[in-house]
Amino acid sequence: MTTKPLEPIIKIRDLTKTFGTVSALSGISLDVDPSEVVCIIGPSGSGKSTLLRCIGFLEEYTSGEVQIEGRLLGYRRTASGLVRESEKNIDAVRRNVGMVFQHFNLWPHMTVLDNVTLGPRLTKRIPTGRARGQGRHALAKVGLESFADRYPSQLSGGQQQRVGIARALAMEPHVILFDEPTSALDPQLVGEVLDTMKQLASDGITMVVVTHEMGFAAQVADRVVFMDHGQIVEKGPPVSLFNAPESPRLREFLDTWRSRNMLFQNDASVTGEGEEGGARS
């Protein structure tokens, strides 16, 4: 790879978002550099998903700025302040941003391949034949090439989410946003999705991942961001963040997570014994 470009892909300055009187984000600033993997962790209701949705402009932000590759997202600077941008120009700024959703959001009436190729066909005016080729390529990357002609309802949750990833990939984005991509999955299906994401990370794709999977964050992230009450409390490389948390809130969050995990393991052993007991009687 060449030297790092000066411009970060995503540049967030003093971002705030309020829903009515409730403040969801207050004073968020964050840069994401090319090829970087940033994981955002934090308790539910901390504003992680709202932040991600603001970066995708699925949510209008209240004040501050989000820039994608140096271009202001969603608004236009005028003499009197920021003015809402037209849909067309928002699309132009957003075209290099992909998104993977918690609930997959596949279109149920289309085949897997059509789900993946609809975006490129309509927005990049790629002829259907070529789009299908690229779509199969994207599906191959997530290991689902042979499922191209199935419908989403015929796939497992993990497979559906991998299609969601392929759909984002097919647009050849410069950054992909993941909004709790494994939270809606059965535990045994989480692994395949995380493996796919690890593969993307090692391919050098820039990723912003909102997640509850601490293991994934520790292993894959270049930087971890801990959010609470709509603010970034702490950020840094995973090693220092997980092993030497500075803020009490992060320490508490990690403690809770660890004890819950222990509890879960204990639970598993308890159930195991219970089943044996059941078999004996």
Binding site: G56, R95, F101, N105, W107, L118, G164, A170
Partner: protein, 205 residues
């Protein structure tokens, strides 16, 4: 003769329903539009056509068209009135279907850069029809029944033909009962078709 009238009934109401579908979809998009003027105007249209008797609407169209210089055949006036009426009701049906589509699907479309109209065409419309088939069948039955009112502007559909036969035979009870049976049979057939289509589509995916 009654059969000929029944054919006319099916023709008039069928045309209105089919014309009403694309227009109803447009009105549905108008009602749900983020542009306040478009949505306000659409809502007023909808509440006027849903809030007044269809017989009054029919008479207005029939008498008003010549006043603005359009001398159209009664059958055309009937089709126009029934269409403008069903558009308002179909828009509401489509709106219900629209609400049933998870908003996340729209967001996913936006995130791959698909624009509003392309999204409606590729993502929304194909799903709406599956969702609203039962309501659309009910609306078709309702328009078919209401088409009996166009007899008052001398369109010779089933109702009008029955009246004519009664006028020559003086046997109102038998004739009107026969007409009633024809209406019920046609509507029964319709709901049967609707149920089959529903099952077909439900099994599709």
């Amino acid at each position: 003769m009654l059969m000929w009238g029944a054919g006319m009934t099916v023709l008039v109401s069928g045309t209105a329903i089919i014309l009403g579908m694309p227009l109803g979809l447009m009105l549905c998009f108008g009602v749900t539009s983020s542009n306040p003027w478009v949505s306000r105007f659409s809502r007023i249209y909808q509440s006027v056509w849903r809030g007044t008797p269809i017989l009054v609407q029919l008479l207005i169209i029939y008498y008003l068209l010549p006043l603005i210089g359009l001398n159209v055949a009664p059958i055309l006036a009937a089709i126009i009135a029934l269409t403008l009426n069903t558009v308002a009701f179909q828009a509401e049906i489509f709106r219900g279907g629209l609400l049933a589509i998870p908003p996340g699907q729209m967001e996913a479309a936006r995130m791959v850069g698909i624009r509003k109209w392309a999204m409606r065409y590729h993502v929304v419309v194909p799903q709406i029809f599956r969702l609203v088939i039962p309501s659309l069948v009910n609306e078709t039955i309702s328009i078919l029944k209401n088409s009996s009112l166009v007899s008052v502007i001398a369109v010779t559909e089933l109702m009008r033909v029955s009246q004519q036969i009664v006028a020559t035979t003086y046997r109102p009870f038998e004739i009107y009962i026969t007409a009633a049976v024809i209406y019920i049979l046609v509507n029964f057939l319709l709901s049967l078709i609707g149920r089959t289509a529903e099952k077909r589509l439900a099994g599709g995916t």
